[in-house]
């Protein structure tokens, strides 16, 4: 298979997986097996793209023309490959985790759940490998729509309300701003292809391009830059595997990935640097970083706290893109991967606590550490990565983001990064500290002795925790890809 075909296969494979899952719905074990195999094969295929990309190839694959001049096409470049690698690897782990979680939690309609999950991964692969803005937008919308049944999985009144917020904000921003921005780009540049160095240079006044950038940044609602962040906490009504893979990795990263890609391949970093709105938007992202952290403090529900933490962390990547220098872009790209591993570990742990001890609130998790040492240990490791201290991968991306901010001469933004790290230190570490050293609440019925979640879930969260640490010692694959992206 040529590398271009592999990209197409990567988009199709999860769809085939979804079909298999639907067919095998009656036999849960075989169904989950099929899911795991699909995920494994997918990761193997994506991995095969690494060598050609490193060798400087940019494989392409074209389905056909939609309207004259606009194609549905795939093109693999370093940033997309990084996103695809992360998403496809974590899909394997999440499938394993979900097998334990969904049964342990006695969820209904599991076949539908796993099928839509697979479709969401297909859409994420499509986003990662899109060759132009049109293709990206199409997959972006598919991703929104196919995660809707996952968010509203429980079918309750609460889920219905959350679904409205979810769809409302994501569709409003994407159709209201992003679509207009894409058509405007087409009108200005006569193309919507992603090209190194950008396509917008010299097509319009700097004021007009500034407005266009605003439309793009807020139009990508999945990046959750405030005030368009409300959908993410709303999405937390979904079963935990969805929150873990989709709302910490695939969906939200598709958003920041889009912002980064637009910054690098549509505007180009050189042009971006000259735009007035890039600086303002960087401050909007900075505000989101701080406010997200502050709101996270007020949340006692663990998943809600993690959601706000995610909002805050996503803006790191948006900030990295808007710094408009190579270090910032490298830091932003690395953070896509680093945050993914860290945050998925945290969500896995939150879900494990829910399944094993039926607790959602942090205040009620005191003393649980003795029953669930592995879970809370993993949570600790994940927290380190989000805070950005060794020995966890997150320290590298924060390092480069800080360097980027320094290079841009924005000392204020450096301060924001530092303050935010301190804030996350407090609100995240509270959880394991309480669990290990707190006394259980009076009315809690925590099991005596060792009582972890079902083994597939525990294995999954151990894998991601180890990977988080591993990325501190060996971040090279992601780092090299990002260097390729900025053309070093």
């Amino acid at each position: 298979m040529s590398p271009g075909t592999i990209a197409a296969v990567a988009v199709l494979l999860p769809l085939v997986g979804a079909g298999l899952i639907l067919l095998l719905g009656r036999w849960p074990n075989i169904r989950e097996g099929a899911g795991l195999v699909t995920a494994g094969v997918l990761f193997a295929q994506v991995l095969r793209l690494l060598e050609p990309i490193r060798a400087g190839e940019r494989p392409e694959w074209v389905l056909g023309e939609v309207v004259p001049g606009i194609e549905i096409g795939l093109q693999v470049e370093p940033l997309g490959l990084l996103f695809a690698l992360v998403a496809s690897f974590l899909w394997i782990v999440t499938t394993l985790y979900a097998a334990g979680y969904m049964r342990g939690h006695h969820e209904e309609n599991q076949t539908r759940f796993f099928a839509f999950f697979a479709i969401a991964i297909a859409a994420a692969m499509g986003v990662a490998f899109s060759a132009n803005l049109f293709t990206l937008f199409a997959f972006y919308e598919v991703l929104t729509l196919c995660t809707f049944p996952l968010v509203t999985h429980h079918g309750t009144e609460e889920a219905k309300k959350a679904g409205r917020v979810y769809l409302g904000i994501l569709l409003t921003t994407s159709i209201g701003f992003q679509l207009v921005a894409i058509i405007w780009t087409w009108h200005l540049a006569g193309t919507v292809d992603f090209r190194p160095g950008g396509i917008l240079e010299g097509t319009a006044s700097s004021a007009a391009l500034s407005v266009l950038l605003v439309l793009f940044v807020f139009g990508v609602g999945k990046a959750a830059v405030m005030p368009f962040h409300r959908w993410l906490p709303a999405a937390m009504v979904a079963p935990t595997p969805v929150s873990a893979l989709l709302h910490a990795v695939a969906v939200v990263k598709a958003g920041v990935f889009t912002v980064l890609k637009v910054a690098v391949y549509v505007f180009g970093l050189d042009l971006l640097e000259t735009l007035a709105s890039a600086a303002w938007l960087a401050w909007a992202a900075a505000a989101t970083i701080i406010l997200g952290s502050l709101v996270a403090f007020t949340k006692d529900n663990l998943k809600a706290r993690l959601a706000y933490s995610t909002i805050s962390q996503l803006s790191y990547i948006v900030l990295g893109a808007l710094l408009a220098n190579e270090l910032g872009a490298i830091g932003g790209g690395m953070h896509i991967a680093m945050h993914a591993f860290g945050k998925i570990t945290l969500f896995f742990a939150a879900g494990a606590v829910l399944v094993a001890a039926h607790e959602k609130d942090i205040s009620r998790m005191s003393g649980l550490g003795r029953a669930m040492p592995i879970t809370f240990g993993a949570f600790f490791v994940g927290s380190l990565s989000i805070i950005g201290v060794p020995p966890a991968g997150g320290s590298w991306s924060k390092w480069y983001l800080g360097m980027g901010a320094l290079e841009a001469g924005q000392l204020g933004l450096v301060a924001v990064l530092m303050v935010s790290s301190l804030l996350s230190l407090v609100y995240l570490l509270e959880v394991p500290v309480r669990a290990f050293f707190g006394t259980p609440p009076e009315d809690a019925h925590h099991a005596e002795g060792f009582h972890e979640a079902p083994w597939p879930s525990v294995v999954a969260l151990v894998i991601t925790a180890l990977a988080t640490m591993g990325l501190f010692f060996y971040p090279n694959p992601f780092f090299d890809l990002m260097k390729l992206m900025v053309g070093q």
């Binding site: 309207v67 004259p68 049109f134 509203t152 079918g155 569709l171 409003t172 209201g176």
Partner: protein, 492 residues
């Protein structure tokens, strides 16, 4: 044979109609109808191919040359419209069998198909003819038979709806014939090409602008441009499902075609837009239609009525594109003719399936239907996504060209409005989705059941078309672009 295609396009269904009355047996009549409609579709494809290959076709009816006899004239614009009408017909025809058996009393079925074929022939006649009086004649044929079909609806209010439509339609037709009469008085010809040649000489008189006014109002009544749409919601709501699907997807589209033909070919874009400033009338009305009707649709409890109001809004999109009077705008308008036919056809056919099973399309009655009729509601959701304009559906392609057209003219507020009303479509489509997928079943006793395949297959065929031409719109966008250029007189 090839030479006779333009005439056969109209003659075959027109002759088959009375044969239906003679045959009487419902299934036999149905089979004849399907055969005729499918033949027409084949005929239309041939015509479009010929036109795209070798330019406009002129056909002298009965061998009488143009100024004396009636000329049929096919170019890209009407070849495309004929394809739309016959394509929708071909998909609705097989669907009609079960749906009509359920919704129309048995003794009237043969008459129903007669009316159906007459209406079909009338619409095709309007499209192919090159003679303005002939337009009026075919308009009456198609309208009268449409009134009859609507009146056959189950609900007794169908009769008042048909009557309402009859009154409004008759006013529209009268205005049109007055306009045509005035043009005839001033130029002495009814042939479109001749009219286009002779009108500039008399354009300075008072009569021609008055004729222009009568025609504008008459045609806008027929195509249900706000505020002349009052007949439409009731007619769509109470007509039998098959009729709603067919009329929603074809009748208003042919009326839009009439608008294009009169204002661009006969009067010419320069006269219509520079002298008469038609855009000053059409643009605000289109914008109000798009916004207000989308808003009204949100508050409807009957889904057919909701979709009817949505149709008025969607017609606003077509008129909006036309009022831009640019190649991109006109392309958007013509493209949306096709695209809207596909999406609304699919939506109304899905509603027909619902009607078949539970006998109602009230939101209340559709609660929990997502589990009982997964395929039907799946088709509805797919059609709804197309209506919203989600990428990879035809609706998206229309939105793309419309917004592009608005940006080209620098009309930012218009682009914003198009976007905003797409979001309003999300609201009303999602009202149905929430009822169907989150509501508890309204009637627990009724056994769950999917609509019969005879209904589902055509519905899904149209859904597939929605996605196919959303992914590969080179054909539709190409044809619409050619049609737009030929209407504006811009050589490719």
């Amino acid at each position: 044979m090839i030479d006779q295609l333009p005439a056969l396009q109209v003659i075959v269904p027109l002759i088959a109609a009375p044969v239906c009355v003679v045959l009487r047996r419902p299934r036999l009549v149905w089979a004849l109808m399907v055969a005729v409609v499918w033949y027409s579709f084949w005929n239309a494809i041939q015509l479009l191919g010929l036109v795209l290959e070798s330019g406009p076709i002129s056909y002298a009816l009965g061998g009488w040359a143009a100024p004396y006899g009636i000329e049929y004239r096919i170019d890209t614009v009407n070849a495309f419209v004929v394809v739309i009408v016959t394509a929708i017909g071909s998909i609705v025809a097989p669907y009609a069998l079960k749906s009509i058996e359920r919704e129309v009393s048995p003794d009237r079925i043969a008459l129903f198909y007669t009316a159906f074929l007459l209406s079909f022939a009338g619409l095709l006649g309007i499209a192919v003819t090159g003679d303005v009086f002939n337009v009026f004649v075919f308009l009456e044929i198609s309208s009268l038979s449409a009134y009859a079909m609507i009146a056959m609806g189950q609900n007794r209010r169908a009769v008042t709806a048909a009557f309402q439509y009859l009154i409004m339609g008759a006013i529209g037709a009268t205005f049109i014939v007055i306009g045509i009469g005035m043009m005839y008085v001033m130029t002495g010809t009814l042939n479109m090409a001749d009219l286009a040649e002779r009108l500039p000489a008399v354009a300075g008189t008072r009569t021609i602008p008055v004729a222009f006014g009568f025609l504008t109002v008459g045609i806008c009544l027929k195509l249900a441009l706000f505020p002349l749409h009052l007949w439409l919601p009731n007619a769509y709501t109470f007509a039998p499902s098959t009729v709603t699907a067919f009329i929603a997807a074809t009748a208003t589209k042919v009326a839009v075609y009439m608008l294009l033909r009169f204002f661009f070919t006969i009067f010419g874009a320069a006269f219509s837009f520079d002298v008469m400033q038609l855009d000053l009338v059409l643009l605000p009305l289109a914008l109000i239609a798009i916004f207000s009707m989308s808003l009204v649709a949100i508050f409807q409890e009957n889904v057919k009525r909701m979709m009817a109001y949505s149709s008025v809004a969607q017609i606003g999109y077509m008129i909006l594109g036309i009022s831009m009077a640019s190649v991109t705008g006109l392309t958007a308008g013509i493209l949306h003719l096709f695209n809207h036919a596909m999406m609304k056809g699919a939506l109304f056919m899905a509603l027909g399936c619902v009607m078949y099973r539970i006998g109602s399309v009230e939101l209340q009655a559709m609660r929990g239907l997502g589990r009982r009729m997964p395929w039907t509601m799946g088709a509805f959701v797919a059609g709804g996504l197309s209506l919203i304009g989600v990428p990879l559906t035809v609706g998206f392609i229309s939105k793309w060209y419309l917004i592009l057209g608005a940006l080209e003219r620098g009309w930012w507020p218009v682009a914003a409005l198009v976007v905003m009303t797409s979001l309003m479509a999300v609201v009303y489509v999602w009202k149905v989705v929430e009822a169907a997928y989150f509501g508890d079943s309204f009637d627990q006793d009724e056994p769950p059941g999917e609509a019969p395949l005879a209904l589902l297959v055509p519905t899904w065929a149209l859904v597939v078309v929605n996605f196919y031409f959303g992914v590969d719109a080179t054909l539709t966008a190409g044809v619409a672009g050619t049609a737009a250029r030929s209407l504006l007189g811009v050589l490719p």
